[in-house]
Symmetry: C2
Subunit: 352 residues, 2 copies
């Protein structure tokens, strides 16, 4: 599979990627290679990865606890201390092997350690392959506020190997599908139709095309001044719902994809009200989402808590929530102001 | 006084600087202005600063506890939470008003908040005026390891007003003199002679020339690949001594300048042994240092603890401590390896 050239680094795929990684390590003559894992990727992915890593450098594994709840500064402090105790220096390399928590947190940890060491991302979930592998966003949560602390910082390379998907659950695979749907409806309707018709088939191609799209978008607008905002479609409401479920002790957490899928239905509804996004397409999006994800019943009494979190969205300016909405498939409008009432109505539409 | 143009931002001096700051705020139409202070700068500097700030934007003051001991991630978390609770968004501006702890920590906090908001540094101590105002280094300590966590990140502008020096102690002024001596011996012997002959006179000129020198060095080598390493003269041993005193409960802390002054004497001694740095100049440096700072008695039983900290220096690679040493005044050699014995000997020379 071809290589995709991102801003300042390549995304390599499948077997070829491991050779490139070995070359990188030789070229930069790293002092030590740190591999950041969680208990799951250490058990399931590390044994697949390590035989492919050809190097005589010292390798140190650092394990953190899995889960979004651990994507915080306290975990970063633990990793910084571990790297310090293991003798990490400015010529160290950090390889992140895991899902979005590992790649986002690991990238941030590397970028801040001694004012920055090199890192390489190896996403092992569908979500992190299609979303976190390109774009240079690193970060951690602050309390329930997602990615509140972070940086734009690029890895030396990204290694995408769909074989790692055999290590994750069906639910996690589905979590990544939401981003693929997003790329489809905002940027490439052919991709959306692929998902609609073939659910889960051709996974290699779906990943490759998603990375290609994300890369095209990010190269045009690395700092999210305009076009890149389309990647937030579904995420404004989706993130708030995800955070709300995360902080509600009595609710089971939603995966990122489950929350973003709801967010896309809501924001498509708002699009239909404010921008005349066609109703048939709105219903099509809802149908595809509900064909993949179980319906969640959003409770009326939770709406105000979700609204509260919406107001903390990173993209807000002067307290005004900013949405990216759809005029049509592949046709968006940035910086739309939406009333609270309409946001509530959109959640009722999802429920209906 | 003229403006100095750093990499991507200007350093403005005295009255003129406040006009430039007001212009910046108008131009960028910030949503809120956060001012980071400690209890001392809030009491003594803020009342000098605020009448000069012409703006109708919302202003929020965030106060942290003074002292190097608070230059850590926990303090950052506190500031991030405060900015969040006060409704900070991506269009917020953070002004740091204080010494190196405030400017280093504040720059890091701003650079990581929602992946980066603008910041302006207003150094209020001599040390931060001549050292932290140019160079883009931000960061905090990890345990006793200085600036272990941080970034290269540039402010929008720096405002240097020597009037703030009336708010600090004589000891703090002296702390800044060590950096001026460093610029002198490594880069501009005329500046060193100024310090030697006029101790404390012409402070405005000493500051201006120091910022100029630092800027020249940083512009040539922003990422500290070669020339910029001369700014570490005296800092390899100096930092270790500073950290050691900081973590020793039974010792009074040294100021940065007091520790770096000792470090310069030690590293000049090592220079004389390894590079034939002239003995008369070695003695001249020691003499000037001891004319400004009280002699500290470094205890033999502390040498091993100081050595231990030296091994964690950020600049080390593969466990090898790297020194920048002097062939002569204004003439340095990078990446010198030094034996433990010679380091100990240099501390004994300082003691003698």
């Amino acid at each position: 599979m071809k290589t995709i050239q991102a801003a300042s680094y390549p995304v390599h795929f499948q077997e070829e990627a491991y050779k490139k990684l070995s070359n990188l390590i030789v070229k930069n003559d790293y002092s030590t290679i740190f591999i950041l894992v969680d208990e799951n990727t250490f058990e399931h992915c590390y044994p697949k990865f390590i035989p492919n890593l050809e190097t005589n450098k010292r390798i140190e594994v650092i394990e953190i606890e899995s889960g979004e709840i651990n994507k915080n500064i306290e975990t970063c402090i633990g990793v910084w201390n571990a790297i310090t105790e293991l003798g990490g220096d400015r010529k160290s390399l950090l390889i992140t092997l895991g899902g979005g928590v590992i790649t986002d947190l690991g990238g941030f940890v590397a970028s801040c350690f001694k004012r920055g060491i090199d890192f390489v991302n190896i996403p092992t979930t569908l979500l992190s392959m299609v979303d976190a592998s390109v774009g240079g966003k690193t970060g951690v949560d602050l309390g329930v506020l997602k990615n509140q602390i972070g940086l734009f910082s690029n890895p030396e390379m990204v290694l995408v190997d769909a074989d790692y998907l055999t290590t994750v659950t069906e639910r996690e695979i589905k979590s990544g599908m939401a981003e693929i749907i997003k790329y489809g409806v905002t940027y490439d309707i052919k991709l959306f139709n692929e998902v609609k018709l073939n659910k889960g088939l051709h996974i290699n191609e779906l990943i490759f095309r998603s990375v290609e799209i994300k890369n095209e978008v990010v190269l045009q607008d690395p700092k999210e001044k305009s076009l890149r905002k389309i990647l937030n479609f579904g995420h404004t409401i989706g993130h708030a719902i995800e955070s709300f479920y995360l902080e509600s002790a009595d609710k089971e957490n939603l995966t990122h994809g489950e929350a973003i899928a709801i967010g896309m239905v809501c924001e498509s509804y708002i699009s239909s009200k404010l921008l005349n996004f066609p109703e048939t397409k709105l219903n099509e999006i809802k149908e595809v989402v509900l064909s993949i994800y179980d319906k969640i019943n959003l409770l009326k009494e939770d709406f105000s808590g979700i609204m509260e979190l919406l107001k903390h969205d990173k993209k807000n300016v002067n307290g005004q929530v900013n949405f990216v909405l759809l005029n049509d498939y592949e046709n968006h409008k940035l910086d739309c102001k939406v009333s609270e009432d309409l946001i509530v109505e959109s959640m009722e539409f999802y429920n209906s």
